[in-house]
């Protein structure tokens, strides 16, 4: 028998080999994919329920659902969520008017004036803490400070929502201000512009798309909040277009109230309100995305 020739070239086999490691790798990939599917299921199911049960309530008799008053009795069929839509718009609009200017100013202080001073670092830390305050705690706080003195109103809800929105607006705005390059500020100073004028005419306009996007997302979150309204807005079944006087209601509060009802008529209204609310928040989020895309373009 001749010994193997050591100078002969051995063929190299680069084909993938089945081994335990490869199996584990495939298994993990499958697991990850499984998780993705798993998380998509609730979203699909919820959207399905919303459309199936909410669309019939909300759009069957367009635009009745959006304009009619809320029936006093759960067992009454029909009716609509007109007051709730008006209430949501009032509360969220009022909250935006409070939180957005104050939040932008606060972020301007943190990034342009305070920077890393002790006070600024304290405020930054506390605004992170504030984002974690449960919405029900905010609601109780505003109950003590406002509702106990002035009664139920849409504005009470606005205050509570504004407290929830404020830290979000501050943090989003500060991040956007950080993205404005230093040399733009320098160019403005070199022309003999004061600091406040530079901020208002150069820095904020440059950061604007991102700030708008952040504010819209904060607004969308506020529109969906329920707990604070339970303590501040009260309940109403007719449209109340006044911000300051009289109890009011909102889509989120109505969903909560009707969800616990055992009567399908009320439940249908809850689904209709839910669909309306989801469409509203999705629309706001989409607009926010448009603005985010505009930053990326620059």
């Amino acid at each position: 028998m001749t010994p193997p020739d050591p100078t002969a070239v051995q063929p190299i086999d680069l084909r993938a080999r089945m081994s335990w490691r490869v199996i584990v790798n495939h298994a993990m990939t499958a697991a990850m994919l499984g998780a993705v599917v798993l998380i998509a299921i609730p979203l699909v199911l919820v959207l399905w329920s919303l459309l199936a049960r909410g669309a019939s309530a909300a759009f069957a008799d367009f635009p009745a659902f959006f304009t009619k008053d809320i029936p006093h009795m759960d067992t009454q069929p029909g009716g609509g969520m007109g007051p709730a839509i008006v209430g949501t718009l009032l509360v969220t609009g009022g909250a935006a008017l409070l939180a957005i200017p104050l939040g932008i100013l606060g972020a301007v202080y943190l990034h342009e004036y305070g920077k890393s001073s002790t006070f600024a670092r304290l405020v930054r830390f506390l605004s992170v803490v504030m984002t974690g305050v449960p919405s029900i705690v905010m609601g109780l706080f505003v109950y003590i400070m406002w509702t106990m003195r002035f009664g139920y109103s849409a504005f009470g809800g606005s205050i509570a929502m504004a407290c929830l929105m404020l830290p979000v607006v501050i943090r989003a705005t500060e991040q956007m201000l950080e993205l404005v390059p230093a040399h733009l500020r320098e160019a403005s100073y070199a022309l003999g512009t004061t600091k406040s004028r530079t901020i208002v005419t150069v820095v904020l306009p440059a950061a604007l798309p991102g700030i708008v996007s952040g504010c819209l997302l904060a607004v969308a979150r506020a529109a969906g909040e329920t707990a604070p309204l339970l303590f501040t807005v009260g309940a109403a079944s007719e449209i109340n277009a006044s911000l300051f006087s009289g109890a009011n209601t909102a889509l989120s509060a109505q969903i909560f109230a009707n969800a616990t009802s055992s009567f399908p008529e009320a439940q249908d209204r809850a689904w209709g309100a839910a669909l309306t609310l989801v469409l509203l928040t999705f629309a706001i989020t989409l607009i926010a995305r448009v603005f985010t895309a505009r930053i990326v373009k620059r």
Partner: protein, 299 residues
């Protein structure tokens, strides 16, 4: 490329210039030197030092800068040229921890004295930066920004200022049909000329330029240099450049800086080595360090 100084030959009483590396040979004419010397003084720097926190970036700068001349600061990187330039219009104010010691006198007034408003200083002493930095606004709004800040509201007046500044920056013909388009859509060279136009729109007395051509291609550079020569008749120009040929081409006086290593603190502190009429410095420098830099032995 030769500068205007040699446009006509003249008999010279100074020693005939020796070739210095690839720096153009310039003949010194005494009449020219005399003319330079009698121009009024705009800045008087007396023992100026700049600190960033505890770090002394530059020390012992004493010099005068004269009206309607182009003064160049040259030297290797890290030797304090930009630091000194920025001390002329109080731009160090925006950097936390920066401190200027000594005196920077502008028309006799110490810019760092009590009661001086940095905003007022910068209205009179403008600055063009190394990397063009137009605002994300239209061309028109970029130029009109300064005048608007100074209170000019009348549209006709603003239109006039915008046109005048763009002409002054040799940019008018290129952009006159698209004044409302975004300034950031222009080429690098155009953006820099826009920044120059923006600076001269507020009619400062002095224009400081921090390596204005270093981000530009050679053609754009040539245009900006041409612009500088025109602008010096209206403004006093101080330019920092790491390109000594540019200093030789463009400037009337040149200041050479270098950095010295302090062995104890391991810090490099910049200092002014030599300051003279450009043609004299490049043909017959007094200090050995200047000569080494110019002939390319270091830098």
């Amino acid at each position: 490329m030769v500068t205007e100084a040699t446009a006509s030959t003249a008999s010279s009483t100074s020693a005939s210039p020796r070739p210095r590396g690839n720096v153009p040979i310039v003949e010194v004419r005494p009449s020219m030197v005399a003319m330079l010397d009698t121009a009024p003084v705009v800045f008087e720097l007396a023992d100026v030092e700049v600190f960033y926190g505890a770090f002394r970036a530059v020390r012992g700068v004493t010099m005068n800068i004269q009206k309607n001349q182009i003064t160049a600061f040259i030297g290797p990187s890290g030797c304090g040229k930009t630091t000194v330039l920025r001390s002329l219009n109080r731009m160090h104010d925006v950097i936390p921890g920066a401190r200027v010691a000594g005196q920077v006198r502008y028309h006799g007034v110490d810019l760092y004295g009590a009661g001086v408003s940095p905003t007022e200083v910068r209205r009179r002493i403008g600055m063009v930066f190394q990397k063009p930095n137009p605002f994300p606004k239209s061309i028109y709004d970029n130029i009109a920004f300064g005048p608007r800040v100074n209170g000019v509201r009348d549209k006709a007046k603003l239109d006039e200022i915008v046109e005048k500044s763009l002409r002054g920056a040799a940019l008018w013909d290129e952009v006159k049909d698209r004044l409302r388009s975004s300034a950031q859509g222009m080429s690098g060279g155009q953006q820099q000329r826009l920044c120059i136009a923006r600076t001269i729109a507020v009619e400062p007395e002095v224009v400081l330029m921090d390596e204005p051509c270093s981000a530009l291609d050679p053609i754009a550079t040539a245009r900006v240099e041409e612009l500088m020569r025109e602008l010096k008749h209206r403004f006093t120009i101080v330019i920092v450049t790491h390109n000594m040929q540019q200093a030789a081409r463009v400037s009337d006086r040149t200041a050479f800086f270098t950095a010295e290593l302090d062995s104890k603190t391991e810090q490099r502190t910049g200092q002014l080595v030599e300051y003279d009429v450009t043609s004299k410095m490049f043909s017959n420098p007094r200090d050995e360090r200047t000569e080494n830099y110019i002939t390319g032995r270091f830098g």
